[in-house]
Structures are given as structure tokens and as C-alpha cells.
């Protein structure tokens, strides 16, 4: 049942009580100021439903990242990439329970972090039938916990793609523990936890900065400290491409992410208990979709113009860059403006992918242009359509979170480098991580794509 149906029901009973019948009056009742409020328990049910179903969609983005990355690495590293993705999602799930959620949401009060404690469930108000008033919570505690936790996993997935094909499994997993348990929740508390950035007026609706740039900064720091894949850049600066093994898989991954993004942005309305919320969510969906479309079309046209060929992998990056760009403010732009915001994300991909190669920063899947640079662009674009946001507050958010994530990530990567090493040996890299770190092959019955 939709909110719209619900509203019809209430309008009908109101009309009957007044002893007035007929569709005209019904319409009047609907459009009039006397429209009936959705009861608290119904709102509770719909808000919870929204958190859960949108959360499932975001959870499924883990599959999208896994397939995108599995497709863009070489066959000898495919199993490793799949292993990292399934494990990082699991680590995020556990760390967010152990420390992350309360560090992000419990007692931040305008400050810099929450409390250090296990997430604890409190549904007492709803269980007692209390849906209005100060103590009331509009959704089940677990649905909120779940919805927030799947966002953490997204940030961790971003790192995995950039540092693929040379990072040591255990170094990456330990970094993931710190990222999902500490780094992400602390910077998240500044905004979504009601911390100092929120009080400053920073606006980041679904996380262009909080999720995507955070993952992107951690990925960039990792890529620099770990170094490029052996042989990727020759001494004279020429790039030796290492083409991804399975572009259909990368395409499927991108479509899965695109679908999951409706949960990411739509669910970030955080409520579905009123017609206003339902309208907002629907607008967010179409803005999200057209931003992705704008990103793809921009990359397809630009790669044709620049390289005389259309690069599929950049078109896929273009979709994601469009999605990241609209994520900071999917609720306020018009459809046309959302398309332009997304298209500029696509332009960012075409400009920054070769630029990173010039800087010899080896980003296997293009996560830095897509999540970091497009995330910054999307965040800075919010004031263009949202009068509540200011360029100043947006810039403060981008810079402060960027600085925090760079410093903390760099410390962790450096400590890992000194204690256990962050990359495999050149011999192991040559053999592939599937064989040396996992002891198996993703495609044992295929001849390698780069043989002879």
C-alpha cells in the first residue's frame, strides 16, 4: 500500500463522517488544508520500511563494486578482488556494531565524535505505543542501524578498487577495520551525527563527501603510499595499460551500483511517512537516474572526440561519477540541472583518469576521479540549487573531512607499511594475487588473456 492510498482512505472516512458523498468533495478534502495526518504508527511502519528496503539496495551495491572491480582487474587477481569485497562488507558490518554507530551518532551534540560503545537497540517508545512527542522515534532502531551500516561498507569498497592487484590482503583488511570502525564514523559524526559541520550549515544529503570523498581520500592516500603496480609506468613516463579482464562483468557491476544508488539517495530522505516524503523520494530517484545518464553521455561524447574511440570503462566510470555528483543534493535540483551536474561528473572522469596516470598514481578502477573528485564537485554544487547551503560551509566540509581522512589514512598505511608491508613482492605480483595470497585461481579452465 502506498502513502497515496492511505491518504485516500483517510479522506474518505472524513467525508463520510461529514455526511457528504461524491468524488468532487473527496478531491476537495484531499487538496484542502484539512488533510488528515498519517497516524504515527503508520509513519513508523513506512519509515522503517524505507530504511530496510533502501538499505537492501545499498547493501547490493557491494555486489556492484565486487563485479566492477572483478571486471577491471586482470584474471590473475580476480578471486582476490572478490575476496576483498565480501570480507570488507563483513568487517564493516561488525565494526559498525562494535564501535562505529555510536561513535557516529551517540551524543555528538555539535562536537567532533560520539561515544565509544556498542550499538544498543532502543525501541521502547514504539513498543509502548508512543509515536508522538519528544521521546518518540519515527522508525525501528535496527532499521536505522542497518541503513547507516551499509553506507560504511560503500566507503570501504572504494578503497579496494584503487589499490587492487598489489596490496597485501591482510594490510588491506586491517586498514578496513580502522576505516570502518574509526575514520568513517568520526568524520560522519561531524555532519550526520549532528556535530560541528552540521551546526555550520554544511549540506551533504546522501554522502558525496561523507561517503564517497572519504573513501576516495583513503584510496588516494593508499595508492600513493603503496605505489603503482610494477611495470605500470616506465621511467620515461609512458603508461603501460593493464586492461581489465572482463568488461561485461564491469558493466553488470555498474548497473548494479546504479540500481543500488536509488536506495542510497532515495533512502537518505530518512522518512517515507507522508506524501511530502514520497514526492521527495520520487524526485530524488529521477534526479539520481538522469545524473548517471548525463555522466555516461558526457564520457561517451568526450572520449570519441579526444581518442576517436569510445572507451567503455570510462563510460562506466561516467555513470558512477554522475551518481556521486548528484549524491550531495539529489533533492533540490530540477531534472535538467541534475543532468548537468551528472554530466560534469562525466567530464571529471575523462580529465582525471589520464591526469592521475601523468602523476603516476595508479588507480586500477578509476575510483579517485569517480568518488573523490566527483564527490567534491557534487558537494560544491549543492548551493547552486539549494538556498540553505553556502559555498563557504561546503568548502569547509570538503577541506576538513579531506584533511582528517588524509592524515588518519596516511598514518594507518604508514604504520602498516612499517609493521607488515603493504604490498606483495614483484614476483608475487607477476604470478597474481589469486595464486599467491588466495592459493586458487578465479578461472582455472581459461587460458590467460595476456598469454603469448
Amino acid at each position: 500500500m502506498t502513502i497515496e492510498n492511505l491518504k485516500h482512505m483517510f479522506s474518505k472516512s472524513a467525508a463520510r463522517m461529514a455526511g457528504v458523498m461524491g468524488a468532487a468533495v473527496l478531491l476537495l478534502a484531499m487538496s484542502g488544508s484539512a488533510h488528515a495526518e498519517v497516524p504515527g504508527e503508520s509513519q513508523f511502519v513506512f519509515n522503517t520500511f524505507s530504511f530496510l528496503v533502501h538499505g537492501f539496495l545499498v547493501m547490493w551495491m557491494a555486489a556492484g563494486f565486487a563485479m566492477l572491480e572483478a571486471g577491471l582487474v586482470r584474471t590473475k587477481n580476480t578471486a582476490m578482488q572478490c575476496l576483498k569485497n565480501v570480507t570488507l562488507f563483513s568487517i564493516a558490518s561488525i565494526m559498525y556494531y562494535l564501535i562505529g554507530y555510536n561513535l557516529m551518532y551517540d551524543g555528538v551534540d555539535g562536537g567532533f565524535m560520539g561515544s565509544i560503545s556498542l550499538w544498543g537497540q532502543d525501541d521502547s517508545a514504539a513498543a509502548a505505543g508512543k509515536f508522538v512527542g519528544d521521546d518518540a522515534v519515527g522508525y525501528s532502531a535496527a532499521s536505522d542501524f542497518f541503513f547507516q551500516l551499509v553506507f560504511v561498507a560503500t566507503a570501504a569498497s572504494i578503497v579496494s578498487g584503487t589499490v587492487a592487484e598489489r596490496v597485501k590482503l591482510w594490510a588491506f583488511l586491517i586498514f578496513t577495520v580502522v576505516l570502518t570502525g574509526i575514520i568513517y564514523p568520526i568524520q560522519g559524526s561531524w555532519q550526520w551525527g549532528g556535530g560541528w559541520l552540521a551546526e555550520l550549515g554544511f549540506a551533504d544529503f546522501a554522502g558525496s563527501t561523507l561517503v564517497h570523498s572519504t573513501g576516495g581520500w583513503a584510496a588516494l592516500t593508499g595508492a600513493i603510499i603503496i605505489g603503482a603496480r610494477t611495470g605500470k609506468y616506465s621511467a620515461d613516463g609512458t603508461v603501460r595499460p593493464m586492461p581489465g579482464a572482463n568488461l561485461p562483468l564491469a558493466t553488470l557491476g555498474t548497473f548494479i551500483l546504479w540500481l543500488g544508488w536509488f536506495g542510497f539517495n532515495g533512502g537518505s530522505q530518512l522518512a517515507m511517512g507522508s506524501a511530502a516524503d514520497a514526492i521527495a523520494i520520487s524526485n530524488i530517484y529521477i534526479n539520481t537516474n538522469i545524473a548517471a545518464a548525463g555522466g555516461v553521455v558526457a564520457t561517451v561524447i568526450l572520449t570519441q572526440l579526444i581518442y576517436k574511440k569510445v572507451d567503455l570503462t570510462m563510460a562506466l566510470n561516467g555513470a558512477l561519477a554522475g551518481l556521486v555528483s548528484i549524491t550531495a543534493g539529489p533533492d533540490t535540483p530540477s531534472l535538467g540541472m541534475a543532468m548537468i551536474i551528472g554530466a560534469i561528473g562525466g567530464v571529471i572522469v575523462v580529465v582525471f583518469v589520464p591526469l592521475l596516470d601523468k602523476l603516476k598514481i595508479d588507480d586500477v578502477v578509476g575510483a579517485i576521479p569517480v568518488h573523490l573528485v566527483a564527490g567534491i564537485w557534487g558537494t560544491m554544487a549543492v548551493p547552486l540549487t539549494n538556498s540553505d547551503a553556502t559555498f563557504y560551509a561546503q568548502a569547509v566540509g570538503v577541506v576538513s573531512i579531506g584533511a582528517f581522512v588524509i592524515v588518519t589514512s596516511a598514518v594507518i598505511w604508514f604504520v602498516l607499511k612499517m609493521v607488515m608491508g603493504v604490498r606483495v613482492t614483484p614476483e608475487e605480483e607477476e604470478s597474481g594475487l589469486d595464486q599467491t595470497e588466495c592459493g586458487l585461481e578465479a578461472y582455472p579452465e581459461f587460458r590467460g588473456s595476456q598469454t603469448i
Binding site: 603501460r240 595499460p241 586492461p243 572507451d311 570503462t313 589520464p354 596516470d357 603469448i452
Partner: protein, 142 residues
């Protein structure tokens, strides 16, 4: 041991001064192995053109290599790179001498696109052939 059969002495047999064996060696030398490297998409067309000529079998392999075409430039995420060995299909056909001219000509005409990279045809003399199922040897085995 009748003509056209193969003994455990193997290919060394026709080097003996025995007259029958010398005769057999003559017949064996009437065979050629045609090896052609062609563009992969031309394979079906070539096969269809060859079967009416009396070609009874062929071996096909996917190979990589370079000739005058050298490699080709590809582009991945904004960076160009050379693919130095291009995929081709290699055909091997063992036939009696009298078929060689028409087969070579047919392959040349059918596999031709007129663009660089069409491939080449090579002809080798073939010393021996044996049908594993029956033990027949020489041209009878083809």
C-alpha cells in the same frame, strides 16, 4: 606386408634398398602439407571453398603472430598501447601433389581481403602419413 601398410620399422623402412619399399617411398613423396595463416573471420569461407576440391580433412589452430601488418594500437582508459601479436587462424592440410595448385590458389583467392594482414600460404613436402585407425600409410592415409 602389402603396399600402403605401415610396419613397426616406421619411416626408416623406405630407406632400405628393397625395391618394393623404394616404390612406396615414391608414392609417399607425392604428398604435400599446405600450411596457411589467414584472418580468423575468413576460416568458414575457406573451408567451404576447399571441400569441393577434394580436401578430406584439415587441422585448424588459433595462433598469434606478426607480419608486415605488425601489431595494432589499442587504447585503454586514455593510454595507447601496442598489441604486437595479432590473432590469426592457422590451417594445415595434407594432400596429394595433384591437388596442391588448386588448393593454394583457392586459399589465396578466398582468404583475400586486399588489406594488409591477409596472411600467407606455405607448402612443405610431406614424408609420411599414417591413418591411426587402420595403419594405412602414405597417400592412402589421407
Amino acid at each position: 606386408m602389402g603396399p600402403g601398410t605401415f610396419s613397426s620399422a616406421g619411416v626408416g623402412e623406405f630407406r632400405t634398398p628393397d625395391r618394393d619399399v623404394a616404390k612406396k617411398a615414391e608414392r609417399i613423396n607425392e604428398m604435400k602439407l599446405i600450411m596457411a595463416v589467414i584472418k580468423p573471420f575468413k576460416l568458414e569461407e575457406v573451408r567451404e571453398a576447399l571441400t569441393p576440391l577434394g580436401v578430406e580433412g584439415m587441422t585448424v589452430s588459433e595462433v598469434k603472430g606478426f607480419g608486415r601488418q605488425k601489431g595494432q594500437a589499442e587504447i585503454y582508459r586514455g593510454a595507447e598501447y601496442m598489441v604486437n601479436f595479432l590473432p590469426k587462424v592457422k590451417l594445415e592440410i595434407a594432400v596429394k601433389d595433384d591437388l596442391v595448385a588448386s588448393i593454394v590458389e583457392t586459399i589465396q583467392k578466398t582468404a583475400q581481403t586486399g588489406k594488409i594482414g591477409d596472411g600467407k600460404v606455405f607448402v612443405y613436402s610431406l614424408e609420411q602419413a599414417v591413418r591411426i585407425r587402420t595403419g594405412e600409410a602414405g597417400a592412402d592415409a589421407l
